[in-house]
């Protein structure tokens, strides 16, 4: 299994992975619309999707978006989702996708790949620890829902 960049031909299989991801997070969302958005990415900002194919099926995907500026006014890549279908976990698919993301970053001129994971989910932390990758000393502040509304309202006031 060699990860590659997703194409329009992967639309249905990618949507099925997104549906599984949404189901695991208890979300009722439109996986086809999400697949279309991910596959429509252009330019440095993306989004970019790398997939792990096995025959006609996809075992997992990595979704990335470009951010600017990273250190030294360069482009960086944010890994927004690294997902492997439940029946194919613990088989190295996630590692292969992460390595493919790094290779993509080097080839396309991005200087970093970063991924924020939840503190209360041990699996992503174990995943990175097993690869010898320590977390960056950084706090993530998330403004969404009521908080987002409040600050947006304050901006208009």
């Amino acid at each position: 299994m060699t990860p590659r960049r997703a194409t329009a031909e992967d639309r249905h299989a990618l949507a099925m992975l997104l549906a599984e991801l949404a189901r695991e997070h208890g979300q009722d969302s439109d996986p086809l619309a999400a697949a279309d958005t991910l596959l429509a990415g252009k330019g440095k900002a993306g989004p970019v999707v790398l997939v792990a194919p096995e025959g006609a099926a996809l075992l997992g995907f990595a979704a990335l978006v470009g951010h600017f500026p990273a250190r030294g006014f360069t482009w960086g890549l944010t890994l927004t989702d690294l997902f492997v279908s439940a029946s194919h976990r613990s088989k190295g698919v996630g590692r292969a996708l992460l390595r493919a993301a790094c290779a993509f970053a080097r080839e396309e001129g991005y200087t970093r790949v970063e991924n924020a994971v939840r503190e209360d989910e041990p699996l992503p932390r174990h995943f990175y620890a097993a690869l010898g990758i320590a977390p960056a000393p950084r706090h993530v502040y998330r403004l969404e829902g009521a908080l987002l509304d409040r600050l947006a309202t304050e901006a208009a006031a």
């Binding site: 249905h12 549906a19 599984e20 189901r23 086809l32 006609a56 099926a57």
Partner: protein
């Protein structure tokens, strides 16, 4: 000179229609047709996912429990649909026939009793008769068969009926867009339509005919094929595509997404390329009564 006697006619009494309508509604809600049971057995034999297999086993057990305990297969009594096929030399009062179906449906609901799932679309008032404006849906067709009147009852549940999709494609979109639309619909419906399903696809016609064809396709017995050769080919291709998605029973993953994809086609306009999808859930219920000079035959 030989004078030919007019062919004897089959005279159908509206009271018999009323009784049949009542019986069929109740029977359809309790006893699944043999072709659907065989479909379950086939999926169970080939399913490779353990969770999916366990869900299929629960569904199969549910079918057995419903029959053993004379209970309903599903709490959803659906929208009652009656498909009436009238053969040649049949004498029936059409208006009385429709009224008889309506009375039979209401009596099944009150006398069994059944949950009435039918409400006014704006006031949401439920008359608790499973009847309302234009409901039961009654489709009448005339066929070549001699002296036969067949009544098919389909309680169409809401979960799968909500999985209905129509797109007025144009010829330039081609058959590829038709296929893409059907697979998109299967993904959008996901587990909400209680798979494994029969995915009904209508291709061609006008917008309303196209959706009607999809409903006809969704409620066709398993094992039947589209009579149009091109439609049959499309059925095979779409069945393979939909079952490769991995949606699985109740949308929790597996091979058993659809018992089958059924396609019905109709001629369409030179500038149109309509496609519709209507889903039938795994509780693919139907019952039929066939009136002939020999009597009434109850079946599926």
């Amino acid at each position: 000179m030989t004078v030919l006697a007019p062919p004897a006619t089959l005279r159908v009494d509206p009271d018999a229609i009323e009784e049949a309508a009542k019986l069929l509604y109740i029977r359809a809600l309790k006893v699944l047709p043999d072709d659907i049971k065989a479909g379950f057995a086939r999926l169970d034999a080939t399913e490779s996912d353990a969770t999916a297999k366990s869900i299929l086993a629960t569904m199969i057990e549910n079918i057995g429990v419903a029959e053993r305990t004379d209970n309903l297969l599903c709490q959803d009594t659906g929208i009652p649909i009656f498909n009436v096929r009238v053969g040649r030399h049949v004498e029936v009062d059409g208006w009385a026939l429709k009224q008889a179906i309506r009375r039979g449906t209401a009596r099944a609901t009150r006398e069994h009793p059944l949950r009435s799932s039918v409400v006014h679309p704006i006031t949401r008032v439920n008359e608790h008769t499973s009847c309302g404006l234009h409901v039961p849906v009654i489709n009448i067709d005339f066929v070549e068969e001699e002296r036969v009147l067949a009544l098919e009852m389909i309680p169409k549940g809401s979960g799968s009926e909500n999985g209905s999709f129509l797109q007025m494609l144009i010829p330039a979109d081609g058959l590829a867009a038709v296929k893409r639309f059907v697979v998109d619909a299967a993904i959008r419906a996901g587990g909400k339509v209680c798979p494994p399903t029969i995915l009904g696809v209508g291709v061609g016609g006008t917008s309303d005919l196209c959706m009607h064809l999809a409903k006809v396709a969704a409620t066709r017995p398993l094992g039947s094929r589209c009579e149009d050769a091109e439609g049959a080919q499309l059925e095979a291709e779409l069945s393979e595509a939909v079952n490769s998605l991995g949606i699985g029973p109740q949308g929790l993953g597996g091979d058993s997404t659809a018992f089958a994809v059924h396609v019905e086609v109709a001629a369409t306009h030179i500038t149109m390329n309509p496609v519709a999808v209507n889903v039938q859930c795994h509780s693919a219920r139907r019952a039929s009564a066939t009136f002939t000079p020999e009597g009434v035959r109850i079946g599926f």
